[in-house]
């Protein structure tokens, strides 16, 4: 039975493709889900379907509701939730997803550059792993599903402790 992994967070870089391709190359039995990443569609889905709103607040409110039909369903189905914080934007919805996933008891992996470590400390504390690069997320998933470690990158494990 495959795993379902929800990829939450920023939609301006191609981190999702890196992870998806990496998992595919590794032959992992994983299905990736996530929010709609077409920014214009994501912003306008509410008014495009339900009718225009003059006030931007309600324009956004409609859209956030429509997006939540998708995201909440997929988030609750997920076995693992990966949350990516990019270098720009506030990405409060990514942190919101992380809190939502934490309260549901989902295993969380965060993915962000070191510069965000301090403001993300509460989110990272609720995660089981903090990754810096998409390939590390692929490695985490391979280990979780198949129990095998990468051979070429990360730490040299030859001097690692051995006892029980």
């Amino acid at each position: 039975m495959g795993w379902q992994v929800y990829l939450s967070g920023e939609i301006h870089t191609d981190w999702r493709e890196h992870i998806t391709r990496g998992a595919q190359a590794a032959g992992l039995d994983v299905t990736f889900t996530g929010p709609v990443t077409d920014h214009a569609a994501s912003d306008d889905c509410g008014v495009a379907i339900l009718g225009a709103e003059e006030r931007p607040f309600w324009h956004d409110h409609l859209g956030a509701g429509v997006n939540a039909i998708r995201t909440r369903t997929l988030l609750e189905r997920a076995d693992v939730v990966v949350v990516c914080f990019g270098e720009q934007y506030r990405q409060w919805n990514a942190a919101f997803d992380a809190g939502y996933a934490a309260a549901l008891g989902k295993p969380i992996v965060t993915l962000h550059p070191e510069q965000h470590d301090h403001p993300l400390k509460e989110v990272d504390r609720a995660a089981l792993a903090v990754a810096r690069r998409p390939d590390q997320v692929v490695d985490l998933l391979r280990y979780a599903l198949e129990g095998t470690l990468p051979t070429t990158h990360g730490a040299d494990v030859s001097t690692a402790p051995s006892a029980a």
Copy 2:
């Protein structure tokens, strides 16, 4: 993995068929469920199976119990619950289903004409989208499953805000 969508509410118009056909035409991976919509069967299922009752109250009580075996099971299995309020009848069971779904945390879409907006405000507040026409429900499901927006109806999105 497909979605299961429960269509709750009025059983006197063909709104369910509109949605079902629309989703089929759009090729969506959705299974629709709902209450028994044969009104006579729905009213009499209790006494037809378990034996006649003289008092109408118990006639209804038996029937409501038998219907609940179906509806509660399907409602709890649903990924999304659509609740339709028609122009006639009180449809308290539709509102009951909405409350039940809300407490379970299911994404809810309501479908009703504007004339009911005020008395349905509590139900609508618990919904993620309020639709006026069955084709909007199809559009919502297509967006939720596939992330694509309709091109011809709804608002003109070309002037929509763009930021993050």
Copy 3:
């Protein structure tokens, strides 16, 4: 430790006062809660606090949200939920509360005239008792809390079955 009883439903007759006074006269250790019953305040609380909305839909939406801060909290605290359906109005919010309470597993008592028996059959089926008069609700609460029955109204119990 006293009981908390949420009185949901119609706000146009004085059924709440009947129950409250009856419980007080019976000396029951019960605290009654419920929605705001000042109709104008309940309709306008959203815009009165958060600012005016031109469209009636959002006027209602704001108000329903503000009312839900109160009603959802009190409903979840309640030990018993009484839901009253009057002779007028659609009272979908009452049926919504009943569904919400049912999904939470709360004991439900409905209160309504016989004329609504058929359309309320699903709601009544989810209830543990269907009362016709407020004094019956008081009797139910007295029995639930103190185990004593009324002596003067209801059925003559002298011919009731006795075995185990």
Copy 4:
């Protein structure tokens, strides 16, 4: 029985004091809780109690864990969660708290200036009210607890709709 209200979010302005004083002036039966708002203590609580860490990541990790002992407990006890986003800082922990509270089904009130409306749209959609000023939060709590509306600010309610 009083209400417990958790005040989550920014710790650089005095919005908590405004709300606390307002609720006290209104005589509301509310207990306010929240994170430790002494910024230095909040940042250093981990190492101050458990011992120094060289790497800032683990310094933060220790502190986030220690703070979570407090915040998670108080958040789960809360009847209502108010989440404030100030004009500065990323405040991902505030959005995280909002997501956590949403998954627990807590009524949420957000408090932030309009400039954040678009990036906060997902968080606001999960809230029951979006306030702009602390006095509005006090008004919301007064209405939730006592059912009374403010008389001098907000919308003119004289033209509000009336029926059901």
Copy 5:
């Protein structure tokens, strides 16, 4: 997606076969599960696998534990729980299963002769239908899954009330 129906209760008559054959004849997409109905195996499974016990109490204790590995798992997987009380034996485990299923919110159908109506009133009250014959259980399942009523037995429905 088929339904899973747990058949709890007496193991001395062939009621399970009646239901299973009836559902098969009706072509219902149902999988039936239940406890081990080989009485000797059910009584001795504990000691047969884990080793003999001198005291009958622990003999039974071991067996009840081993049976619970099966029954608890299948009960929790079930969409519907049917509980049968035969004419003999105390069948406390059937009533225990009914209570367990009730607390989990499973739809319950009881099956027993009228003579047990009074002592089973609490169990029946927690059920959505009380059947007297296995074929009625099959009819209930057909209605729940396919929405069709039996044509030849049960009440004459021609005089049933019709409106809403």
Copy 6:
């Protein structure tokens, strides 16, 4: 903070008084709750409050609903559930309560003579202790609350094992 102990089961002997008096004599901070033990009132509460029913089935159904308002509320509040099976009657409601409590994860103590050991094996397996006499229940509660053992009855503990 005191404990709440629900005493479920037979209502024809004075086992509840034995436990209550014993706990009082021991000065334990325990509140005992339970069903209404006035057999006639318990059987007739439904019709006495809600009106007569001709058919005994509905007479019982009404009564079971009314009793459940009390019993379900108190059962869910309980810290410990004691279930007593006497020498007579089928007491299916006691077994039902035990199953309900088990699914809620409540600590269960059963109280019954050895003659019922075999048919009660499933219920006993779900219990944390099987007592034979009410004074043992008092001893269990004293130990649970205060950590002290009885000095005069039960086993001679002087030869008990000591290690860890």
Copy 7:
């Protein structure tokens, strides 16, 4: 629908292979899951993927987090949890898994030699069966899935009690 069985605990002997082969030989529809049993990989997975840590505490902390992505997911999916305590090592993580599974209400089987009976008494009390040999676990699973008992080992059942 097959069962998923999580094999928790010691990773230094081949008990998992015994159970897996036995179940396969018996043709049981069971999928076995468990932690990564390559000891070096399990100890170093954190640093191997996420980067080296100087302090052994954080080395272990990273690894435990990465392992938990796998183990928590598989544990929550399991129908049955088998926990093995070998003759050596402290195996606190096995006891931790047992407590975790117990709180989730999973059926637990423990597997350990008699010498650990006293210190494992709390864990065993939360289990539905305590096995001494892997073949007993296979027998338990065969009985749970297929209702058949082993014929050659364990107790002689010919003198077992038979009544109800």
Copy 8:
């Protein structure tokens, strides 16, 4: 409203008294609970109350059940769970409690010497803080309840980072 803190784990040293006295000296509004720490009583409570058992396994089984009435109730009531692992004994019940508390989402603090870091890594990973000395637990509770840090021990905080 005070906090309830469950002190789980070893019963051979006086760590509980250290914490209790420290919290009292600090004037914290905390109630401490825990298992019965009289080792002989804890081992023999089952047979002392319920009657002797010849086989040590059942002697322990009875005792573990009786202890669980207390420990499970107090553990579920706790706001925070502190789990101490001493230098001796296997203390599997402490690890079991930690797993149980983790699945319930309770904040966990572990207390143990560094020598156990490696075998306790899974338990520590599920904790929000790992303490070495009882006074650190008191400091954690003071910070959690009152937001104040100790002034004399732990790290020098003057050079701690300051940003957000």
